[in-house]
């Protein structure tokens, strides 16, 4: 903070004008000036800082303390140390939740990145009504996950849903969808994709418009066809964005909760019980806030590791994503 103001002021002092400010140019005066600048800076930052501290740092610290305690929300908390973590790691249900979450990440992240890229390329052209198409893609992203979830329960109802009616009219066997343990996660991934594809599309659209035109022209003059131009010029140009959206979507996918809550409640046969759903159930259904917080912290560390891994990979490949 202070260094910035100093470096800004330094050239001005050299500009040969009379020294600014009434304070004599002594060390004490400089310190006072710097103190004042510091104070002004902190005053600007303070309101936001209080909000962030109060609403995220404090709860995060408290959740960590909770994860070392046994607390049902009412009785005085008991200190149990790492006991909650030990229990968690030996809990089959937790590992099942981890594998369900992993499956969702594998289904959702590659699909959302590729679909976003495809849609962005498709929308990155000058045709009539392009604004309308872009809006149409973006609308589901604005709809709440709760609405998306309720919509999918109607669409994929095994008895009366539109999806099965279409299959029936094509003479194909009706499916169980959300009531079939082997299909439920796939349906949820499809619905997430429908809601989230707009996000990757918009990011890629912005990145596509940043691809230097002279590179594309040079490629064309050198005789590259459109396919070659895309994979040799555009795709490498997009790689920082790809790294970014991949990390972003992985973090989002690891935290899948709302769609599960509104569609299957973790069923059928727990096949869609994700980590966040598991921890919510632990804390708010079974009133084991310690166990729930421990699960939240395990998720946090896993997310952190994945993110660090991706960043290091990007740096080693000299992709300037971060």
């Amino acid at each position: 903070m202070a260094t910035i103001t100093e470096t800004r002021e330094a050239p001005r002092a050299d500009a040969g004008g009379s020294p600014r400010g009434s304070a004599p140019d002594t060390r004490a005066g400089a310190r006072k000036r710097r103190g004042l600048a510091d104070f002004t800076g902190w005053a600007f930052v303070a309101p936001a800082m209080v909000i962030i501290l109060g609403l995220s740092i404090f709860p995060a610290v408290w959740a960590f303390v909770l994860s070392l305690q046994k607390w049902n929300g009412f009785a005085p908390p008991k200190w149990v140390g790492g006991n909650n973590y030990g229990k968690l790691l030996s809990d089959e249900e937790f590992w099942a939740a981890v594998s369900h979450t992993g499956l969702f990440v594998l289904l959702f992240v590659p699909a959302s990145v590729l679909l976003g890229l495809f849609l962005a390329v498709a929308l990155n052209r000058d045709i009539p009504l392009i604004g309308l198409y872009r809006t149409a893609i973006f609308v589901p992203f604005v709809a709440s996950a709760a609405a998306t979830g309720i919509l999918s329960t109607y669409l994929f109802s095994p008895q009366f849903g539109l999806a099965n009616n279409v299959l029936r009219s094509l003479g194909l066997p009706a499916q169980g969808w959300l009531e079939d343990p082997n299909q439920a996660m796939i349906v949820i991934a499809i619905m997430s994709l429908w809601g989230q594809a707009a996000f990757t599309t918009v990011i890629y659209l912005a990145a596509l418009q940043d691809v230097p035109g002279d590179l594309l022209e040079a490629a064309r003059i050198d005789g590259a066809n459109r396919w070659q131009t895309f994979w040799r010029i555009v795709w490498p140009q997009l790689s920082p964005v790809t790294v970014f959206v991949t990390i972003w979507q992985v973090i989002g996918a690891l935290q899948l909760f709302d769609l599960v809550y509104t569609t299957t409640r973790g069923g059928p046969l727990d096949s869609t019980k994700t980590i966040v759903y598991y921890l919510w159930e632990k804390a708010f259904k079974a009133l084991d806030f310690g166990g729930g917080s421990a699960a939240a912290y395990v998720l946090f560390f896993v997310t952190l590791l994945i993110t660090i891994g991706m960043v290091l990979y990007a740096r080693s490949r000299k992709l300037e994503a971060f």
Binding site: M49, L53, G73, Q159, T264, G267, D270, A286, L287
Partner: protein, 433 residues
């Protein structure tokens, strides 16, 4: 230099945040003075019509006692959320005098150490305490120690059958004499895959809805939920037989619609896709609104035993360290749960009356016309002879057996193994508390 400033600022901000988060509790009156002005905070956990009925009664109470102000609100956007609100309220020392509470929270609320204890007061005849049903009284005394409040709502599971579906299949309506075998035969006859019609519906979400539907089966077979030493007893032969019976219906007969989310089966019943469901008074209003042709009777029985399960909810009373507030909170609930007021609240809204004596009241008779079958449900309270355990750890037990039931009904696993497995998990949860 500024590194240090940063940490100082952080520390200061954290201290400020902590100071604002820890509320301060005002010291209340310690000498009882029934004439002193007093304000009671009351969280009802109700919405819409129910909330406005209670607000009207609160106004009436204020008129009767001009020195009392009742600060009434629903407390949260849904009844489930009251639990989190109460938990947060205890942490910051700002909690109501009275709150609605599901029966399953009772032992947790007692463990907070902030509830009142009415044990000495309810012996007073003016409370007419023994007119409340056994199950309701057990729920407000969750650990057998303190009585932490008043019964707020009683209900039970009865058999509701869809006349349209029965007529279409040409099956005789259920009677009070039915055995579970009669029930199973009927369900089989009502089921028609061609029209997606099912004889019966069972929730396999693994929640308490899954669990408590199972208890009447267990009890009628002579089984128990808990042993005397507080361990799980449901993995007995009685439990295995009960679960095997349901498994045969679900897997062999395919006559049960398995609801994954607790929410669909009632809608399907109203839409004439399901022949029978075991449910309670809360369904009747929607069924009448939908114009469904239905009838109500007691649960099918085992050797003439038609017992059912009841899930009472409570008005929990919290000690705010102010004797006047505590005194008037008890007075308010005593007044609210008295038959004269209860017919204008529970009965008026379509719940069952708290006391059997209200069944003859004109208000209840009017409801019988509006909600046919509610009289049978009210009488069925007598069949709720055993009550659900209210020990801490029941939540964990419920979750363990709930997921065992839902697995078995979906054709995964054998009843005996699943129940034994669930009993192990339940014992852990019970020992944990």
């Amino acid at each position: 230099m500024h590194r240090r400033i940063t940490w100082l600022a952080l520390a200061a901000a954290t201290a400020t945040a902590a100071a604002t988060l820890t509320g301060c509790s005002a010291g209340g009156a310690t000498e009882l003075d029934p004439e002193a002005d007093v304000t009671i905070t009351w969280w009802t956990g109700q919405a819409d019509e129910a909330e406005s009925i209670l607000e009207g009664l609160a106004d009436e109470f204020e008129e009767l006692h001009p020195n009392v102000t009742v600060d009434i609100s629903s407390g949260a956007s849904s009844t489930e959320e009251l639990l989190q609100k109460l938990s947060a309220g205890f942490a910051s020392d700002t909690y109501p005098n009275i709150s609605y509470s599901f029966g399953s929270w009772a032992s947790e609320l007692e463990s907070s150490g902030r509830t009142l204890d009415l044990r000495d007061q309810v012996e007073d005849p003016s409370f007419a305490w023994d007119e409340f049903s056994e199950a309701a009284r057990a729920t407000v005394q969750p650990t057998g120690e303190k009585i932490i409040g008043f019964p707020a709502l009683v209900d039970n599971l009865s058999l509701i059958y869809n006349k349209t579906v029965f007529d279409a299949a040409g099956v005789e309506y259920p009677t009070e004499e039915w055995s579970w075998d009669d029930f199973r035969d009927a369900a089989k006859k009502l089921t028609d895959p061609a029209t997606e019609t099912y004889g019966y519906a069972y929730s396999v979400s693994g929640s308490e809805e899954t669990t408590w539907q199972f208890w009447p089966h267990l009890w009628q077979n002579g089984g128990e939920i808990l042993n005397d030493d507080g361990t799980a007893a449901f993995a007995s032969d009685a439990g295995v037989d009960a679960l095997e019976f349901l498994r045969q219906m679900a897997v062999d007969d395919k006559s049960i619609y398995l609801d994954q989310t607790d929410t669909k089966f009632a809608q399907l019943f109203a839409a004439d896709r399901i022949g029978m469901m075991t449910s309670g008074p809360w369904q009747l209003y929607d069924l009448n609104t939908a114009g469904t042709q239905y009838g109500v009777t007691v649960l099918p029985g085992t050797d003439g035993d038609h017992q059912t399960v009841s899930g009472p909810d409570i008005w929990a009373l919290f000690d705010t360290q102010d004797v006047n507030e505590n005194y008037w909170s008890v007075e308010l609930l005593k007044w609210l749960t008295a038959p004269e007021q209860d017919v204008r609240w529970n009965v008026e809204f379509g719940n069952l009356p708290l006391r059997a004596s209200e069944i003859d009241s004109p208000e209840f008779q009017a409801q019988v016309v509006a909600l046919p079958g509610i009289d049978i449900m009210a009488a069925n309270n007598e069949n709720a002879v055993k009550s659900r355990p209210t020990v801490a750890g029941y939540v964990g037990l419920s979750e363990a057996i709930g997921s065992a039931i839902s697995k078995v009904l979906q054709g995964q696993g054998d009843p005996k193994e699943a129940l034994e497995d669930a009993a192990k998990k339940a014992d852990e949860a019970l020992a944990d508390n």
